[in-house]
Amino acid sequence: MLIKRGSDIKSREITDRALYLDRRAFMAGAAALALAPGAARAAAPAGGPPLAATRNPTFTLPDTPTKFQDATTYNNFYEFGMNKDDPAQLAGSFKPRSWKVQVDGLAQKPKTFDLDDVLRMAPLEERVYRLRCVEGWSMVIPWIGFPLSTLLKRVEPTGAAKYVEFTTLLDPEQFPGQRKGFLSFGGLDWPYTEGLRLDEAMHPLTLLTVGMYGQVLPNQNGAPIRVVIPWKYGFKSAKSVVRIRLTSDEPKTAWNKAAPQEYGFYSNVNPKVDHPRWSQATERRIGEFRRRETLMFNGYGDQVASLYTNLDLKKFY
């Protein structure tokens, strides 16, 4: 059952978040100055432990990044609850460490990686990506990570591998949204699974992500490790991933199982293919007032359109 939990602490008794962030920023700034004066980041918003990364100039955007506060309090992460503010309110006790990611299936060298091994696998890059939610809103987020292809190459996919399946942690103790209650119905089949074609997974844009806004990935954003596929609707980018499996058949995906006529396997951002119940032609960028036009492949057409030359995007939505 979904129980709305009111906080015992009145909101006015909590230190104002802006003040709190200022204090963190001050501390982080002071630390950065003390430790590495040359590397002090310009206006790094703080909140969690900092995570060093080099900005990749190939993946920047002219768009202003979404406010850190908005990107960490307005989330769809149904493992914590259906409301946008549930993840921020309920993720505090989530334990992103220690963490292992099992990478197996059709691979020559399947392996279970400790998170620390993953973090050392490749230099961390910062990339600014657009994020378009299937619900019609969007954000611009500076992620930190490295291409998923780096990890996949480590396990050496066999010739039979055609798809990749991602599985999110199943743990009703930590994820209240996964608990079965007296009145719970509808909902998704847990654990959450998502999938990509192997060529999509190997695409340089597909990012294995461990941080954002210059810091370790906050719990409500899919800590400690998630994928980000910027040309697809947000739900394709699985969070808190524990398993990455190479398969020969198209994996079953959580939203497709729940509503197959509404959420396809591909789910590429496409202003011309409406959700059956609403238009996808426009979106509201969080922080802006007027709607803006949604771009084909979320603006990444130059890089990814060639993946779909022989695919009817209306049929394979």
Binding site: Y74, R277, W278, R291
Partner: protein, 214 residues
């Protein structure tokens, strides 16, 4: 119920129906309308429209079940508050969400079933709000007025469908409202059957008082 009791009841209804607006104003003042204020305002007003509308539709069933007369005196007030909220809900969509993009909105009304039924509910509420005065009842005559105001149930059905069809599959909330409406409709249907049976069996005697005064 005493006159004093009725006054207290109305004051309570006024306070209860204005509280969600006051709360919204308070959150706006605090700058606490979430990262997506327009969506938050729309949903907040929509939720409260549905709650107040279904509460207004619950008054007659309450009388049927418990033979209280006081709920009937609250129907008009609740109905008008539901109309206030739906007007604000619609205005948010019109002004804040689409900023008078008429063509886009018309396309949505025609193409999206959840918007079609939502608009239908809104449009059907207009004549009901317009004929909510004692003058209008006299003008229309009680029977006509009553027939017109049975539209309230159709409005309830449209409003519940509006929410059912727009919500994601995983969201159980619209089903609770649907269950609420079904219970109300079942009580009204049961009452209709009972009255018919009474009328048929006691045809020569004078018909029982309907007592559906305003």
């Amino acid at each position: 119920m005493t006159r004093r009791g009725r006054v207290v009841l109305k004051v309570v209804i006024w306070a209860a129906c204005l509280a969600p607006l006051a709360w919204l104003g308070h959150r706006a003042w605090d700058g606490d309308l979430t990262a997506n204020p327009i969506s938050f305002i729309t949903n907040w007003l929509g939720d409260w429209t549905l709650r107040i509308l279904l509460t207004s539709l619950s008054m007659t069933p309450l009388r049927v079940l418990f033979r209280w007369s006081w709920p009937i005196t609250l129907r008009r007030l609740l109905g008008l508050f539901a109309f206030l909220y739906v007007t604000l809900h619609f205005s948010t969509w019109l002004v804040l969400d689409h900023f008078f993009a008429w063509r886009e909105m018309w396309a949505d009304i025609v193409k999206r079933p959840y918007i079609t039924v939502g608009m239908a509910a809104l449009v059907l509420m207009i004549p009901l709000a317009a004929t909510s005065t004692a003058w209008a009842i006299r003008r229309l005559g009680g029977a006509n007025w009553q027939r017109l105001h049975r539209l309230a149930y159709l409005i309830g059905v449209c409003a519940v469908l509006h929410y059912l069809w727009l919500a994601k599959k995983a969201n159980p909330d619209p089903y609770y409202y649907a269950a609420w409406l079904l219970v109300l409709l079942a009580i009204r249907a049961g009452d209709w059957v009972r009255r018919r049976a009474v009328r048929l069996s006691a045809a020569p005697r004078p018909a029982p008082q309907r007592g559906e005064g305003v």
